[in-house]
C-alpha cells in the first residue's frame, strides 16, 4: 500500500516581476520517504521552498498537510506544522556551543532561567537514537562542517519536526561525511520522518532517494521512482538534453614548466605546526595537474602559499622561470597566475559590489578600464561584463548591475570562473571550481578548463570530488597531512587505489 502524503504542494505558481519562478508546480511528499528535488541553478527550487516556508505567497495553488489545506504565512507557521530545514549555509551562532544552538529560540526555562540539563538529556537521547554524533559542549567554530550539519539536523529533531528539508546538504561535506549523511537520512526516514532532499548531485539521489521530482526553468517536468530510472534519464529531465559526464579530452601534451614548487612549507593557522610540509612539484603547459586529498590535508594552505595569500615558511616558487617566492599578489597575477578561490564569499567576490564590478576585480586597473588619470571607464566595464555574462551564461535578476549578494551560489561561481578563465592566465589555479554547481554547469566549466589546457596553458586543480579528479586530471598528486604521498596516472589507477593514498594507507616517493 502507498503511504499517505505528509505534505503536498499542488499547482503552485509564483511570479516575480519579469519571470515566473514557479509555473504550476506540484510536489507531493509521502510519509517516511526520501524525496529528491532536482533542478539546475535557477530552476525554481529555492522559490518553491520559500513558498513552503511562507516567505512568499503563491499566486496560485494550495499546500496540504496530511490532506488538509493549510495556509502558511511565515516561517513560524511552517515550524508549527513540523517543517524544518537544513540550509546550505548553516544558520548557527559560531561562538555558541552545539547545545545552545540547538535550543536557540525554544530555550527551556523556568521564570527566565535556562533549564539546560533537561535540554541536554533530550539532545543526547536524540543523537543516540539517530546516530548523530555531536559533542553538545563543543563550540561551533571549533567543530567540523559535518558536525555543524549534524547540529542543524538535531535542531530540527529537537523541535520535533516531521518534515525535514535538506538544501544541498552535501555541497560542503567531504566524501566520508557525505557517506555518513546518507546513512543518517536513511535512518531518519526509517523512523517515519519525511525527507525532502534538494540536490543536483545525481549519484547521491540515486543512492538515497525513493522518488525524485524534477524542475526545469520554473516548470514541473515530472516525478519518477528512483528504482525505475537511471542517472542519464534524470539528467536529461533536468537539463533538457543529454549530458556528457566524462569530459572528452585528448591525451595531455605537457611542454615546458610553468610552475615549479620546491620544498614549500606553509605554517598552519589553526595549529602550531606546518600545514604544508616540504612539498615539491611542477606543472607544465598543456597539462592539468590535480591535487587530490581529503579536505583539511593542507590543500588550502598549499594554494594560499602559491597565490601569495600566506607567506611561505620555507622553499621556493618559480612561475615561468621567475622567482615569485616573495612577490606580492598583484605581481603574481600580472605574471600570469589565475586563481579560482576555494571560498567564493571570502575571497572570490565583493558581495556588495555589482556583478559588473566583480567581473573586473582582477583587471580594473588595466588601461581598458581605467584612464591614465585614475578614472574608471564605466562603459567599458559594462560592455566587458555583458560579454562575459553572455559567454558564460551567468544568470542574475538585473544583469550586470545585480548585486553579487543577490545571485545564486552557482551563478556566483560561474562569474568567478568566467573572470579568471577570460584572463587567459598561463597558470590557472582552480580550487573546487564546480562546487555547488549542477551537472550542466559542471560540464561547461570542465570543458572550459580542458580548452584552457589545450590552448597551451597550465592548470593546477584542487578538488575533493573523486569523479572530478578522475575525469579531468592528467596527473594526480595526492596530499595527506601536508605532504604529497603519491603521484598517480588517472588512466592507470582506480578510485579505490586513490582512496588508499588519500587515507594515508599507502604512499610512494614522489620526485618533483
Amino acid at each position: 500500500m502507498e503511504k499517505p502524503y505528509a505534505i503536498e504542494m499542488l499547482n503552485i505558481t509564483k511570479r516575480f516581476p519579469g519571470i515566473i519562478a514557479n509555473d504550476n508546480i506540484t510536489l507531493q511528499l509521502r510519509k517516511g520517504e526520501i524525496h529528491a528535488l532536482l533542478g539546475e541553478n535557477g530552476a525554481g527550487k529555492s522559490t518553491l521552498m520559500s513558498v513552503l516556508f511562507g516567505l512568499y505567497q503563491p499566486e496560485e495553488g494550495v499546500i496540504k498537510k496530511d490532506g488538509q489545506v493549510v495556509k502558511i504565512n511565515d516561517p513560524n507557521d511552517a515550524n508549527r506544522l513540523g517543517i524544518g530545514m537544513v540550509h546550505q549555509h548553516f544558520k548557527l551562532v559560531e561562538c555558541f556551543s552545539v547545545l545552545d544552538n540547538i535550543i536557540l529560540g525554544v530555550e527551556p526555562n523556568k521564570a527566565g532561567f535556562l533549564q539546560k540539563d533537561e535540554a541536554r538529556k533530550k539532545v543526547v537521547s536524540l543523537s543516540e537514537k539517530y546516530g548523530l554524533q555531536v559533542d553538545p559542549d563543543a563550540i561551533i567554530e571549533d567543530i567540523s562542517v559535518g558536525m555543524q550539519q549534524r547540529t542543524e539536523i538535531l535542531k530540527m529533531l529537537y523541535r520535533e519536526n516531521e518534515i525535514l528539508i535538506f538544501d544541498e546538504p552535501t555541497a560542503v561535506l567531504t566524501p566520508q561525511e557525505i557517506e555518513e549523511l546518507m546513512q543518517i537520512m536513511k535512518g531518519l526516514a526509517k523512523e517515519g520522518k519525511s525527507i525532502l532532499f534538494i540536490s543536483h548531485k545525481l549519484n547521491e539521489i540515486m543512492e538515497v532517494a525513493d522518488r525524485c521530482s524534477v524542475l526545469r526553468k520554473g516548470k514541473y517536468i515530472g516525478t519518477v521512482d528512483i528504482a525505475n530510472t537511471t542517472k542519464e534519464e534524470l539528467s536529461r529531465m533536468m537539463v533538457g538534453r543529454d549530458v556528457e559526464f566524462v569530459v572528452p579530452k585528448d591525451p595531455a601534451n605537457p611542454k615546458d614548466v610553468v610552475l615549479d614548487v620546491q620544498g614549500m612549507t606553509v605554517a598552519s593557522k589553526l595549529h602550531h605546526n606546518n600545514a604544508v610540509k616540504n612539498v615539491s612539484f611542477k606543472v607544465r603547459r598543456g597539462e592539468i595537474v590535480c591535487i587530490a586529498g581529503i579536505d583539511g590535508n593542507g590543500q588550502t594552505e598549499l594554494v594560499y602559499g602559491i597565490s601569495g595569500l600566506e607567506p611561505l615558511k620555507g622553499g621556493k616558487i618559480e612561475l615561468l622561470g621567475h622567482d615569485i617566492t616573495k612577490a606580492p599578489i598583484r605581481k603574481r597575477l600580472l605574471q600570469g597566475m589565475g586563481h579560482i578561490p576555494e571560498d567564493r564569499h571570502k575571497h572570490g567576490l565583493v558581495l556588495d559590489y555589482s556583478l559588473e564590478n566583480n567581473m573586473v576585480l582582477q583587471r580594473y586597473f588595466e588601461p581598458e578600464f581605467t584612464t591614465k588619470a585614475g578614472f574608471l571607464r564605466k562603459d567599458n566595464i559594462r560592455k566587458y561584463a555583458e560579454g562575459l555574462i553572455e559567454k558564460f551564461d551567468v544568470r542574475s535578476g538585473q544583469g550586470p548591475i545585480t548585486p553579487a549578494r543577490a545571485m545564486s551560489g552557482g551563478n556566483q561561481q560561474k562569474a568567478i570562473v568566467a573572470r579568471e578563465i577570460d584572463r587567459r592566465p598561463e597558470l590557472l589555479i582552480a580550487v573546487q571550481p564546480t562546487r555547488g554547481l549542477d551537472v550542466g554547469a559542471i560540464e561547461f566549466i570542465h570543458k572550459q578548463i580542458v580548452n584552457h589546457r589545450d590552448s597551451g596553458h597550465a592548470v593546477l586543480l584542487v578538488s575533493l570530488e573523486l569523479e572530478e579528479v578522475m575525469s579531468l586530471s592528467d596527473r594526480i598528486l595526492v596530499m595527506y597531512e601536508g605532504e604529497i604521498v603519491g603521484e598517480l596516472d588517472p588512466k592507470k589507477t582506480t578510485v579505490e587505489e586513490l582512496g588508499l593514498y588519500m587515507a594515508g594507507a599507502k604512499r610512494t616517493e614522489v620526485k618533483a
Binding site: 511570479r15 516575480f16 516581476p17 519579469g18 499566486e59 597565490s307 595569500l309 606580492p328 599578489i329 598583484r330 605581481k331 603574481r332 597575477l333 600580472l334 586563481h339 578561490p341 571570502k346 575571497h347 572570490g348 567576490l349 565583493v350 558581495l351 556588495d352 559590489y353 564590478n357 576585480l361 582582477q362 580594473y364 586597473f365 581605467t370 585614475g374 578614472f375 574608471l376 564605466k378 538585473q398 544583469g399
Partner: protein
C-alpha cells in the same frame, strides 16, 4: 528590464524622501518634548528653532545671520565627509571629533603663536588630523585594533593635547584663545568677496566654497575613480581585496588619513574664520565630529547630500538660540536640536521600510496583471 521604474525605486529619490521624513519626525518628537516640559512656549520654541535667522525682523539681519549659519555649516560638511568617507570603506570614524580638535589646535597655534599665513595654517591643520587618522588606520591594519576604540581614545588625547598647546594663545580676559582677527589678521581665511553678499558678514568667506568643492571631490573619488573602487572593495571585503592584489593595509591607512584630514580641515577652517575661539579649559570633545555622523547619515551617505544635511543641522543648532530663556532653561535649545539630530539617524530604517512597501505593491501589481492576462488568454491555455 526597459520597464520604467517607479519613482520610489530610484535610490536618490528614496534617500531624499526618507531624510525629509526623519526631519519631520524629529521636529514632531522635539515639539512633544518641549510640550511636556512647558506647554506655554512650546510652539514658539520649536518655530524659533526651525526659523533660525528668519525670526529676525529686518532683512539685513536675516541675511547677515544666514551668512553666519553658512559659516558654521562649512566645518560640519567637512566632518560629515570624514565620517562618510571612512564609512564607505567600512570604517567608523568616531575619531572625527578629535581630528577636528587637532585641526583647530594646529591652525590656531600656527596662526597666533607662529604668525603664519592662512594657507600654511590650513595645511598644517589638515596634516595633523590626517596623521592622527592614519595612526588609527595603522593600529587597525597591523594590530587589528578597532578604529572606534582607538578613535575614542585619540579624541581625548587630542582634546587635552590641544588645550595644552593653546595655553599660550589664551586671552587672559577669558578662557578662550585670542581673536585671530585682532592678533593674526594674515592667518584668517580670505573672504574672497563673499562677505559683501551677506551684509558685510566678515565670517563668510573661503571656507564655504572650499567645503562644497571638497564634497564634490569626495563624491568623484568614491564614485568615479579606481581609487574609490579599491577603497570600497577593501571596506566591503578585505579578503577579496587581498586576493586580487590590492594593498589592503595601505588602503585602510590611506582611508583613515583622508578621513582624519577632512575632519581636521573642518576644524582648521572654522577657527581660521574666527567665528568662535577655542576654549582652553574645554573638557568635552567638540560636538562637531559627532554631529558629522548624524549629518552623514541624514545626507543619505552621499557627499552631495551631506552639504544639505549639514546645513540643516547647523540651521536648527543656530536656531536653538531663539528658544526663549525666560520659559526654558538654557539646555532646552540644545535638547531640541539633539532630539532632531537623533532622529536623523533613522534614515536607513525608513529606507528599508519604504523599499519593503514598494516591493509588496509591485508584487500585487504583477499579480493583477497576470490575472488579467490569464482571463484574456484563458481559452488558449
Amino acid at each position: 528590464m526597459n520597464k520604467k521604474r517607479s519613482l520610489l525605486e530610484r535610490d536618490g529619490v528614496l534617500t531624499i524622501i526618507t531624510s525629509v521624513l526623519c526631519v519631520i519626525l524629529g521636529l514632531l518628537v522635539g515639539f512633544l518634548a518641549v510640550l511636556i516640559i512647558n506647554p506655554q512656549g512650546a510652539f514658539g520654541a520649536i518655530t524659533g528653532v526651525v526659523e533660525n535667522f528668519f525670526a529676525y525682523s529686518s532683512s539685513r539681519l536675516r541675511i547677515y545671520n544666514f551668512g553666519s549659519t553658512l559659516a558654521k555649516t562649512a566645518p560640519l560638511i567637512m566632518c560629515s565627509l570624514s565620517v562618510l568617507f571612512a564609512y564607505k570603506v567600512g570604517l567608523f570614524n568616531i575619531g572625527a571629533a578629535g581630528q577636528y580638535a587637532l585641526g583647530a589646535g594646529a591652525a590656531i597655534y600656527s596662526a597666533y603663536c607662529l604668525q603664519l599665513p592662512w594657507y600654511v595654517c590650513l595645511l598644517l591643520g589638515i596634516l595633523v588630523g590626517g596623521i592622527s587618522g592614519a595612526l588609527g588606520g595603522i593600529l587597525k591594519a597591523f594590530c587589528n585594533v578597532n578604529v572606534v576604540i582607538s578613535g575614542i581614545m585619540l579624541n581625548w588625547i587630542s582634546l587635552y593635547g590641544v588645550n595644552v598647546l593653546l595655553k599660550p594663545a589664551m586671552d587672559p580676559s577669558g578662557k578662550d584663545t585670542f581673536r585671530l582677527l585682532k592678533k593674526a589678521k594674515d592667518s584668517v581665511l580670505p573672504n574672497i568677496g563673499l562677505d559683501k553678499l551677506f551684509e558685510n558678514n566678515k565670517y563668510v568667506g573661503l571656507a564655504i566654497p572650499l567645503a562644497i568643492v571638497m564634497a564634490v571631490i569626495i563624491w568623484i573619488i568614491l564614485d568615479k575613480t579606481k581609487l574609490g573602487y579599491e577603497l570600497k572593495a577593501t571596506g566591503n571585503n578585505p579578503n577579496a581585496a587581498k586576493y586580487c592584489g590590492m594593498k589592503e593595509n595601505r588602503n585602510i591607512i590611506m582611508t583613515m588619513f583622508v578621513a582624519g584630514a577632512l575632519a581636521s580641515m573642518g576644524g582648521a577652517m572654522f577657527y581660521l574664520t574666527d567665528v568662535e575661539q577655542w576654549n582652553v579649559n574645554a573638557s568635552a570633545v567638540p560636538g562637531m565630529g559627532f554631529n558629522g555622523i548624524a549629518a552623514a547619515f541624514l545626507g543619505g551617505l552621499n557627499p552631495i547630500g551631506c552639504i544639505f544635511s549639514s546645513y540643516f543641522i547647523t540651521h536648527i543648532t543656530v536656531g536653538g538660540l531663539n528658544v526663549d530663556l525666560k520659559i526654558y532653561s538654557a539646555q532646552v535649545s540644545d535638547f531640541i536640536t539633539a532630539v532632531i539630530i537623533y532622529f536623523c539617524g533613522f534614515v536607513l530604517f525608513f529606507k528599508s521600510v519604504i523599499i519593503g512597501n514598494v516591493k509588496r505593491r509591485t508584487e500585487r501589481k504583477v499579480k493583477a496583471l497576470a490575472e488579467a492576462e490569464a482571463k484574456k488568454g484563458g481559452t488558449k491555455a
